[in-house]
Structures are given as structure tokens and as C-alpha cells.
């Protein structure tokens, strides 16, 4: 039954007060519920990404295509691939009905209520793609008949994906279109799982044309870039290597640990008079600007070095999967590892990129106990690492409530799903995760009241980043081990 006819059936049944025998209604209830929540968040804080997208709406609407990648009135130049630019172009035609002023390029930082409403609604509506993809992913799961609704793997997966904390706060508060993009990714995965490989490959090419940092998945599918003879300019916009190793706030990856080690060594070196303090480079890595900087003690890292590290990190996984393919589950695991690998070792990685690993991992989590444990570790840690994105006091309760909501749900539901076979997390992992609570209290409540807030304002960010990097690295290693040691003779399941 198609989605629209099903939805219509649900509505008619409600009106006629017939009992709901069809058990798919919960999906629509969850989707509608999360959409209501997103609507309530329309008035929340939005970051500069809001202005970025408004600017893109304006320039795609006002300028000819040949000018799109050259326009530089605003500092937020177009740095997504062409298909996304066309998407913005399409949106701009609807934007006319809300507020024509937002489509004027010189109107920098224009944010009238109608503009905010339109942009927020566009993200909410675009999420329909994500909803469809999640529904398709649920079809790939093994279904256990006779379980009550809250214990069904498809129900749990739906909530883990639709109500994903990271996606909610990045898309609907911070402001981005990740839901729509991840929808295409998940759909591509779902098609591969359903053995519709051609569709999967096609969808993946579409995705690459929408967001280029999916290029890390490129080994999994074929792709093609379609540009109107402006290749160099587009590429220079898409891959701005002039930016530094780390974002202003360090993503919790290897380089965060590398940076902190470098800092520690330099401090120790100066203390034990092994280094001359005057000879150390002055650039502060904890400064807020995106700079290129050098390390003091350890060797500086170049973009090429990160590329090499990334490739090295994912090669064993690729080799393993090439050598002994393990069906859909193996494919997914490799996908997650590639995403995590590029997150761990990539150049100028944004902490939002961790979502690219968490969302596919959710699919694995409802299927196996070990993966569920890894998922819990990774998701709680990386969701916490997203906290600095919402730094306003007004959003503080929201992010805490939503984080608790997602964490409690994932813990309780996965625990119920895998109740046979002991605990999902060992005591060390539990301690680590509980350590996030004092970390949050210190960083957001205690530290701002101390004297150090003025002299070292970025210390809490550094602490968060380093603490989370430990958890992410741990999850990465565990995932790798599970991939390399998993047996090839898996029983015939619906996923294959």
C-alpha cells in the first residue's frame, strides 16, 4: 500500500471511528509527533547557518546559474554541490510567497518572522524524505511477531532515527538540511539492503551532488559530478583547504587528542626547561577563529597527512569487506567505519559529521547486542559533544531535556530488546557515560562563575572535546574489532 493511500486510510478510520486494525499507524503518529515538536522550536535560536541558507536562496533566485559559484557579496559563499543549489533555487520560488525581501542578495542577516517561518518550515517539510527513508529501512529489519509495540525492533529504530537528538538540534535549532540529506543516504542504504543496487547507486550519486562530504562513502558506489564547465571554481568552493586542521570548536576526533597532547608536551617542556618559550608559535588553538596553526612539539599536520591517515584507517575495513562480503550487515558496518574513520582523521571536521556514523549505526543497533552497546556509547558521547553548538542560556533546558529523552529511550528500549544475555554496557563504559553529568555541570554551570572564565574562555570546550574524543575513539576501535572478527557464515536473515 502506498504511503499516501495508507495515510488517507488512517484518517478515514479515525473519522469513522473504526478500530485501528492496521498496525502501521504508529509510524505516522511518531512522524507527526516529532513534526509538532519541530514546529514548536521554530522560534528557537538559529545560528549563522540560517543566514547562509537565506543568502543561497537569494543568490540562486536573483542571479544566473553561471554566477552562482562566483557571487561573493556575503561571506557565506555557496559551498555545496550544484544539486543542492538547484534545491535552494526551487525553494526560493516558494519563498516569494512568504517574504520577497529575503531573496534580495544585499539584505544581509535579514530575518523577519516570515523568513524564519519559511526557512524552518522548509526544513520540516524536507524531512518527509527522511521519513520515507526510515520507513524503507524498517522493512529491512527482521520482524518479531507477537511482541508488543514498544518492544518491536522497527518501532525502536523509527524512534532512534526520527527522534534522533543530534538531528533535531542541528537541523531544527542550529539550522541545516541534514534530515533531507540523510534521508537520501538512508534510502540508498535501504535499497542496497533490499538488493535494488542500481537504485542505491543512483541515490548515492544524487547524495554526492547534494553534499560533497559524503565523498567519504565514495568507495561504496559509483558517482558522477555534473558541472557546467566551472570545475575549478566549484571545487575550490567545495574543498576550502585554507581552513585549519580543526574547527573553532574541536570536533572530538583524533586531532583533538593530538592537539591536547601537543599542548601538554609543550607545557611540560617549558616547565622542565627542555623548550624555549619564546621559540614556540604563538597561535592559540583554543582561540575562536578558524586559523591555520602549527603544533609546538609534535609535528604539524597537513591536509595531505590527514587524507593519508583517513585512507589508512578505512583500508583494512574495505579490504575485509572486499575479501569476504558479509551481506547487508557487513556492508553497513563498513559504511559506519568509513564514516567514523573520516570523522576521526579528517581535515577541518565539523562535530556535526558524527551524525553520518550514528544514523546508519542505529540500523545495526536494533539487530545485534554488541552493536547496541557500541551504539549507546557512541550516540551518548557524540550527542553530548554537540552541546556546544547551542550555547545560549535559553536553549539550555531544551538540549538537556531532549538529550535525556533520547538517552533514556535508547537505553531502556535496547535493554528491553536484548534483555537476554546480560548488560549492554560494562561498568567502565557506564562510568564514562556518567562522567558526562559532572562534565556538563562544570562546563555550563560552575565554570562560568569562576575567574578563569575571562582568561581561558575556551577551556570548557576543550574539555568537552577531549573527553568525548576518548569515547568516540573507543567506539571506533570496538567497531573495527567487531568487523574484523565477525564470522562469515551468518544465518540467512531477511537483511540478506
Amino acid at each position: 500500500m502506498s504511503a499516501t493511500s495508507h495515510l488517507l486510510k488512517v484518517v478515514i478510520q479515525t473519522v469513522m471511528a473504526a478500530p485501528m486494525t492496521n498496525d502501521q499507524s504508529w509510524f505516522y503518529a511518531l512522524a507527526l509527533g516529532v513534526s509538532f515538536l519541530k514546529c514548536l522550536l521554530i522560534n528557537a535560536y538559529h545560528s549563522t547557518d540560517f543566514e547562509v541558507h537565506r543568502n543561497w536562496l537569494a543568490l540562486t533566485h536573483s542571479l544566473p546559474v553561471s554566477q552562482w559559484y562566483y557571487e561573493a557579496t556575503s561571506e557565506w559563499t555557496l559551498d555545496y554541490p550544484p544539486l543542492f543549489a538547484w534545491f535552494e533555487y526551487g525553494l526560493s520560488h516558494i519563498a516569494c510567497f512568504f517574504d520577497k525581501e529575503m531573496l534580495v542578495v544585499p539584505n544581509l542577516n535579514y530575518a523577519s518572522p516570515a523568513t524564519v517561518l519559511f526557512q524552518r518550515l522548509s526544513v520540516i517539510v524536507a524531512d518527509v524524505v527522511f521519513f520515507y527513508a526510515v520507513k524503507e529501512c524498517c522493512k529491512c529489519l527482521r520482524e518479531d511477531k507477537g511482541k508488543d509495540l514498544l518492544g518491536k525492533p522497527s518501532f525502536i529504530l523509527t524512534v532512534l532515527l526520527l527522534w534522533n537528538f543530534g538531528l533535531l538540534i542541528v537541523d531544527h535549532i542550529h539550522f541545516q538540511y541534514n534530515g533531507f540529506l540523510f534521508g537520501v543516504l538512508l534510502l540508498s542504504i535501504a535499497r542496497h539492503c533490499q538488493n535494488r543496487h542500481f537504485e542505491g547507486a543512483f541515490l548515492f550519486s544524487v547524495l554526492l551532488n547534494l553534499k560533497h562530504n559524503c565523498i567519504r562513502f565514495i568507495d561504496k558506489s559509483r558517482s558522477s559530478l555534473f558541472i557546467k564547465g566551472q570545475l575549478p571554481q566549484v571545487l575550490s568552493r567545495l574543498f576550502p583547504f585554507k581552513r585549519g586542521l580543526c574547527h573553532a570548536y574541536w570536533a572530538p576526533n583524533i586531532w583533538a587528542l593530538y592537539n591536547i597532547a601537543d599542548k601538554a608536551f609543550s607545557i611540560l617542556g617549558v616547565k622542565f626547561r627542555l623548550l624555549d618559550i619564546n621559540k614556540l608559535p604563538k597561535a592559540s588553538m583554543t582561540g575562536g577563529l578558524v586559523q591555520e596553526f602549527q603544533h609546538s612539539v609534535l609535528p604539524s599536520v597537513s591536509p595531505l597527512a590527514t587524507l593519508v591517515c583517513t585512507l589508512l584507517s578505512i583500508l583494512p575495513a574495505l579490504f575485509k569487506i572486499w575479501h569476504r562480503p558479509n551481506g547487508a550487515r557487513g556492508f553497513l558496518r563498513c559504511l559506519v567505519i568509513c564514516a567514523l574513520g573520516s570523522f576521526m582523521f579528517g581535515w577541518h571536521v565539523h562535530e556535526k559529521a558524527i551524525l553520518m556514523a550514528i544514523l546508519p549505526l542505529s540500523l545495526l543497533a536494533v539487530d545485534s547486542r554488541k552493536d547496541a552497546g557500541i551504539f549507546l556509547m557512541l550516540s551518548v558521547t557524540s550527542h553530548y559533544s554537540l552541546f556546544p553548538l547551542l550555547f545560549t542560556t535559553q536553549e539550555l533546558p531544551i538540549k538537556i531535556f531532549l538529550m535525556l529523552l533520547f538517552t533514556i529511550f535508547s537505553l531502556a528500549s535496547l535493554k528491553t530488546l536484548f534483555r537476554k544475555g546480560g548488560a549492554l554496557l560494562n561498568p567502565l563504559e557506564v562510568t564514562y557515560l556518567l562522567g558526562l553529568i559532572p562534565l556538563e555541570l562544570i562546563c555550563e554551570f560552575v565554570y562560568p562563575l569562576t575567574v578563569w572564565q575571562k582568561t581561558f574562555p575556551f577551556l570548557p570546550l576543550m574539555l568537552t572535546s577531549v573527553y568525548c574524543a576518548l569515547g568516540v575513539t573507543y567506539a571506533f576501535i570496538r567497531l573495527y574489532i567487531s568487523l574484523l572478527t565477525c564470522s562469515d557464515t551468518t544465518k540467512k536473515t531477511k537483511m540478506q
Partner: protein
């Protein structure tokens, strides 16, 4: 999934919805010179902090009663005082005498919103959870679902976190009172309700049922020393609580009189805003103000609707009767009394959940939507949260509680109506009519909301839409008060609730 995790999820969602609504505007934002309820609450913090107790309710040079003078009982004043101490710690400018009038800033708004959230978490939410678990029927999942729906009730959220008030305190305390009575802890229940009464005088609407229930219970225990002693204990609890709350005002006889004068301003007009009140609606047809001698007529009508319900409760003091009496009495007072505020209707809606899901849903929905809250909310710039929360609540209640399924005639308790129509229309399917009426009302509500926002009224009738909303709501409430009186007076009880009766 375990119960505790389900409950925490519901509470967290409720809290998220509340805080998200608080992002929006509040009453009187940016509207000098008087601003609105938000400024009133802030002003009370200023007054209670800076002035001595005996000046709080008096018109002095330091305390201009015309600028949001205190008109709630002492507990509100003490609450404002506590908030003021916290405010002083954070930023003394917020409670500076005179200088802070009309103070508006983002951080101050956060502080005020946080005070509402704090009292909500402390008082109202635990009461709702306990109420649903002890006094609602069904499996534990159904109880959680009911609690969830109550927590997401848009009326309370929009008024407390949008418009800005502290209704959750008084409603929560009254709910604790009901909990106490339901569990057989009469003294605790009386204490809680007395505190509620001392927080907002609107709780007087509920005092009659409380009184009749407790009195009936004491009488039932026989006219022996046991019943009398019980009555004595309850009275002492009430009196001592009152004394403690009013202690600072008992030194001088003028004090309590002045406070009472502020709480019950009999000098004001019959109705202030467009409220779904009898007088307001009738005023459309007949110019009431000139025709009737208001005190006696008002008294008579209210008595007419309140007396049967209270007497029945007195004779049969069970929990079920008590709940129904609460609904009937508050509806009656709302419809027929004097100087009523639209927010008073909240009092009725919170307790109706147990009666029957569809009716309750209908009731709450109508209360909320048709209410003249709509013009009020529009004035405060709360259209978006209004639309989202009402749609979400409607959908959630229908879906989670499968409201429309449990609607046979017997369950809807349409006994009397059936008897009336039996003679002339024996084949009439009443339950189906009720269902269609529900959808029709919803459609009318949506249409009215739409027209209130987007269409301009004709020049000759500038108040057309608020008055239409009031009149339609009034008709619905009238229908409901008749229905609920019928349910209460026509007993028999449901079998399930018998185990909870005392």
C-alpha cells in the same frame, strides 16, 4: 519498556513543550504604560521585596494600587517575595522600587519563565502523575497515556508559559487536595486545598464540593463522636492553615479587610472582557446591565445550578460524585458569576479527565479552543504555539486514548437523553450523533480560529468574532453543564471506580 522510563519520557516531552512555548512572547510585551500580566508579576516581586508586609495591599505613596496592585491572597505574595530574593541575587535592577517598572530584557524573561517551570516541576507535575496512577482506569500504559495527555493540555501551557501566570501552583495544590481526599488522607487533602485557596481565590469555585464531600463523609460516619471528631480535626486543619497564611495581616483588623477588598472587588462591572459567560452572551440580545438587579439574579441562577449537585454529593460522598461535583460547580460558577476571567475555565477542565474520555476530550478541547482565550492569545502574539499545541493535543488524545472507540450509549451515560427521545425518536443513534457533533464542533472551532486571525470583521460590528466565540462557547458549556448534572444526579456508578471510593 519499564514504567519509570515511559513516565520520564512523558514528563520530559511535557517539559520540552512548556519550555519551547516560553520562547514566544508574553502578555503586554513591549506595550507601555501598563504592559500586562508579566509586568504585574514582576511588580509584585518588587513590592513584596521592598515594602513591609502591612503596606502590600494598601494604597500608599510607595505602592500605587492602580498600577497592578496585589489582588491575590497572601500565598501569592510570599511566592513573589521568594522569587524576588532570587531576582535580587541575579540582578538587583529587576526589583528596584519604581525604577524597575516596565523592565524588559531577555535574561529577565528567562528568569521569570524559569520560576514558572520550577514551580510546575515541584507541584503540578508530580500531582498529575500520582493522580493518573491512583485514580485512572486501565492498564499502566493507558495511565501513562492519560498522564501524557494531561501534561500536554494546551490551555495551561499557553497561559502559564505564554501569557504568563502561575496557575500550575494553585491547580497543582488543588489536585494534591483531591489526591489526599481520594487516598483517605482527609487532613492532608484539606491542608493542600486550603493552601490552593490561599494562593488564588478562584479556587473558591471548588470549595463547595470539597466542603460537601468532607461534611458528607463526617455525617456518614454517624452522628457519634467519631464523625464529630473527624469534622473537628478537618476544621482545625483549615483554620490553622488560614491563620498561618494570614498571620502577618492579623495584627490590625483593617489589614484582613483590605486584603479581602482587593481579592473581591465588588465595585467593578458585570463583565470585563468578552467571556463565555451568561451575562456576556445574553447581553447580545438584551441589554442586561440596565434591566436586572444583578446581585440577586446572579445569586439565584448560580444557586440553581450548584445546589442539586452539592446536595447529591452531601448525601452520597463518593470519589466519583466528588469529581463530578467539582466539574458541575466550577462550570456553574464560571457561567453565572460575577466578574469572571477567562482563565478560570482552566479549573474545570483539569479534573474532567476521568469522567469519560470522549466527553473530556471534547470538554477540554472546547474549553480551550472556543474560549475567549483565543482573542487573548492573539493579543499576546501566541498564534503559532496555539495552533501547534492544540493540533498536537487533539491528535495525541484521539490516537493514544482511542477516544472515539469507547463511545457506546451506555458508556457515554446518555440515559436521560435516551429516555427523552425514546418517545418520539426511538431509532435515533445518540452515540453517532455525539461523534458527529464532536467533528462538527471541531470544524466550527477551526473556522472561527481562522476567521479571527485572517478576516476583518465588518465595520458595524467590530467585536463580531470575539462575541461569536463567546456565544458559541457559552452554548457548549450550557450543554455540558446539563449533561454533567445529568450524569451526577442519575447514577449508578461504574463498577471499576468502586474500589477507589471511601
Amino acid at each position: 519498556m519499564e514504567n519509570w522510563s515511559l513516565i520520564s519520557l512523558c514528563v520530559l516531552l511535557g517539559l520540552t513543550a512548556r519550555w519551547a512555548v516560553s520562547f514566544h512572547s508574553y502578555s503586554g510585551a513591549g506595550k507601555p504604560p501598563m504592559f500586562g500580566d508579566y509586568e504585574a508579576q514582576r511588580h509584585w516581586q518588587e513590592v513584596t521585596y521592598n515594602l513591609p508586609v502591612h503596606e502590600w495591599y494598601f494604597n500608599t505613596t510607595n505602592n500605587d494600587l492602580n498600577y497592578w496592585g496585589l489582588d491575590y491572597p497572601p500565598l501569592t505574595a510570599y511566592h513573589s517575595l521568594v522569587c524576588a530574593y532570587v531576582a535580587k541575587l541575579l540582578n538587583p535592577e529587576w526589583v528596584e522600587l519604581y525604577a524597575s517598572r516596565g523592565y524588559e530584557s531577555h535574561s529577565h524573561k528567562l528568569f521569570m519563565r524559569a520560576t514558572v517551570l520550577f514551580t510546575d516541576i515541584l507541584i503540578y507535575i508530580p500531582a498529575v502523575l500520582l493522580y493518573c496512577f491512583y485514580f485512572c482506569d486501565g492498564s499502566s500504559k493507558q495511565k501513562v497515556a492519560t498522564a501524557f495527555c494531561i501534561l500536554l493540555y494546551p490551555g495551561l501551557i499557553l497561559i502559564d508559559y505564554g501569557h504568563f501566570q502561575y496557575n500550575s501552583v494553585s491547580l497543582g495544590l488543588a489536585l494534591w487536595g483531591i489526591l489526599g481526599l481520594g487516598l483517605g488522607w482527609d487532613l492532608f487533602g484539606s491542608l493542600a486545598f486550603t493552601l490552593a485557596l490561599n494562593y488564588k481565590q478562584m479556587e473558591l469555585y471548588h470549595s463547595l464540593p470539597f466542603f460537601c464531600y468532607l461534611l458528607g463523609k463526617c455525617i456518614k460516619q454517624g452522628l457519634t463522636w467519631r464523625g464529630f471528631f473527624h469534622l473537628f480535626k478537618i476544621s482545625m486543619t483549615v483554620l490553622v492553615t488560614f491563620a498561618l497564611c494570614w498571620m502577618p495581616f492579623l495584627s490590625d483588623p483593617k489589614q484582613p479587610l483590605q486584603v479581602l477588598h482587593r481579592l473581591f472587588p465588588v465595585g467593578r462591572g458585570l463583565f470585563e472582557d468578552k467571556v463565555a459567560n451568561t451575562w456576556c452572551s445574553l447581553n447580545v440580545l438584551i441589554k442586561i446591565k440596565t434591566l436586572l438587579s444583578r446581585e440577586t439574579q446572579l445569586f439565584a441562577l448560580t444557586l440553581l445550578f450548584v445546589l442539586p449537585s452539592s446536595l447529591k454529593l452531601l448525601s452520597k460522598p463518593t470519589l466519583w460524585q466528588f469529581k463530578l461535583a467539582l466539574v458541575n460547580t466550577s462550570l456553574a460558577f464560571f457561567l453565572f458569576s460575577f466578574q469572571v476571567h477567562e482563565k478560570s475555565i482552566l479549573l474545570v477542565s483539569v479534573y474532567v479527565y476521568d469522567v469519560h474520555i470522549l466527553t473530556c476530550l471534547f470538554l477540554r478541547l472546547v474549553f480551550f479552543v472556543f474560549r475567549s482565550m483565543l482573542p487573548l492569545l492573539l493579543k499576546d502574539g501566541l498564534l503559532l504555539p496555539y495552533v501547534v499545541t492544540s493540533l498536537a493535543f487533539l491528535f495525541l488524545s484521539l490516537y493514544l486514548l482511542s477516544a472515539l472507540e469507547r463511545s457506546t450509549e451506555e458508556e457515554l451515560r446518555l440515559g436521560l437523553y435516551r429516555k427523552l427521545t425514546q418517545r418520539w425518536l426511538p431509532k435515533l443513534n445518540l452515540s453517532r450523533i455525539i461523534k458527529w457533533k464532536f467533528w462538527f464542533s471541531l470544524a466550527a472551532m477551526a473556522a472561527l480560529s481562522f476567521t479571527s486571525v485572517w478576516l476583518k470583521p465588518p465595520a458595524k460590528l467590530p467585536d463580531l468574532f470575539p462575541v461569536l466565540v463567546s456565544v458559541l462557547s457559552f452554548l457548549h458549556f450550557l450543554g455540558f453543564i446539563i449533561y454533567f448534572n445529568q450524569v451526577q444526579l442519575m447514577e449508578p456508578q461504574r463498577k471499576k471506580s468502586q474500589k477507589k471510593t471511601n
